[in-house]
């Protein structure tokens, strides 16, 4: 049975890994540690999918050229 603190540390590591907050060394060490554990890999993949989904589906705003021109017009 995994300890609560270990589980939280693992989740924090997952976030740091996906947020590119780990060094190259730490990242490869992290992947090595979990690559043979399907349950841990599944958690990593779920977090990764969630972020990809967010990025792909959240509506991004566009800006019309006349808005840019109006800002420029106030400055120069």
């Amino acid at each position: 049975m995994i300890e609560k603190n270990d589980a939280l540390n693992f989740i924090n590591k997952v976030h740091e890994y996906l947020d590119n907050a780990l060094s190259e060394n730490e990242s490869s060490q992290f992947i090595k540690t979990i690559q043979n554990d399907p349950a841990l890999l599944a958690i990593l993949n779920r977090e990764r999918n969630m972020r990809t989904f967010m990025k792909n589906n959240l509506q991004r705003k566009t800006v019309e050229n006349k808005f840019i021109e109006s800002i420029k017009g106030q400055l120069y």
């Binding site: 589980a7 939280l8 989740i11 924090n12 976030h15 947020d19 590119n20 907050a21 958690i43 993949n45 779920r46 999918n49 969630m50 972020r51 989904f53 967010m54 990025k55 589906n57 959240l58 509506q59 991004r60 705003k61 566009t62 800006v63 808005f67 840019i68 109006s70 800002i71 106030q74 400055l75 120069y76």
Partner: protein, 199 residues
């Protein structure tokens, strides 16, 4: 040179157009998800660019223009919010943040979300869930997951320690997943994890 500044007007315009303007859609998206009002978002973006141009000497050319602009926009939003918060039915931004920060310490559990639920979600649903998060949590999700800012950059933009960025982000992601899960269950999805056989 103007007003004793060290950058010529031509140089300012060059920096403005080459380094600042390419981020206008990212700023507009951020402003929109803070205000939920197209006009207010436009005002916020315009205000950001006017300030950026006025204080262009404070910007180190070739450094992280995007983070610098996001910080200006965030400050403009907070100042505007603070003005509004003087109305009796509004709360103080810092009070809200401090309340949630203290809550973070006590509530450090992880919330997982079944893959099938995410796969079946639509953009509208995730937007709705994001909309219902308090602004300080919405902000970190937008900065990290949509704009790819690092923890350090986010700490600078938000004027908070890196540790607070991490905990707020952790909490924000959990809250978002909880909202999505509730929404999915209301549509009839079930979470079968942990069951040995289908019912």
């Amino acid at each position: 040179m103007e007003n004793g500044n060290s950058i010529s007007r031509e140089k300012k315009i060059e920096i403005f157009e080459r380094e600042f303007l390419p981020h206008i859609e990212a700023l507009k998206t951020f402003a929109f998800y803070l205000t939920y009002d197209e006009d207010e978002a436009n005002d916020l973006v315009q205000d950001t660019y006017l300030k950026a141009f006025r204080f262009i000497e404070k910007y180190d050319k070739g450094t992280n223009a995007k983070a610098w602009l996001f910080k200006i926009l965030k400050n403009a939003y907070i100042n505007d919010y603070r003005k509004k918060s003087k109305q009796p039915d509004k709360v103080d931004f810092e009070e809200v943040i401090n309340y949630h920060e203290s809550e973070d310490l006590a509530q450090n559990r992880y919330f997982d979300l079944q893959e099938q639920i995410v796969e079946n979600m639509m953009g509208d649903e995730i937007t709705r869930a994001l909309n219902s998060l308090p602004s300080e949590f919405r902000t970190v999700i937008l900065l990290a997951d949509i704009e790819n800012f690092s923890y350090k950059e986010m700490a600078k933009i938000l004027d908070i320690p890196v540790g607070t960025v991490r905990s707020r982000l952790f909490r924000a992601r959990n809250m978002l997943k909880e909202l999505l899960k509730k929404y999915a269950f209301s549509l009839g999805y079930k979470d079968y994890r942990g069951r040995k056989e289908e019912e």
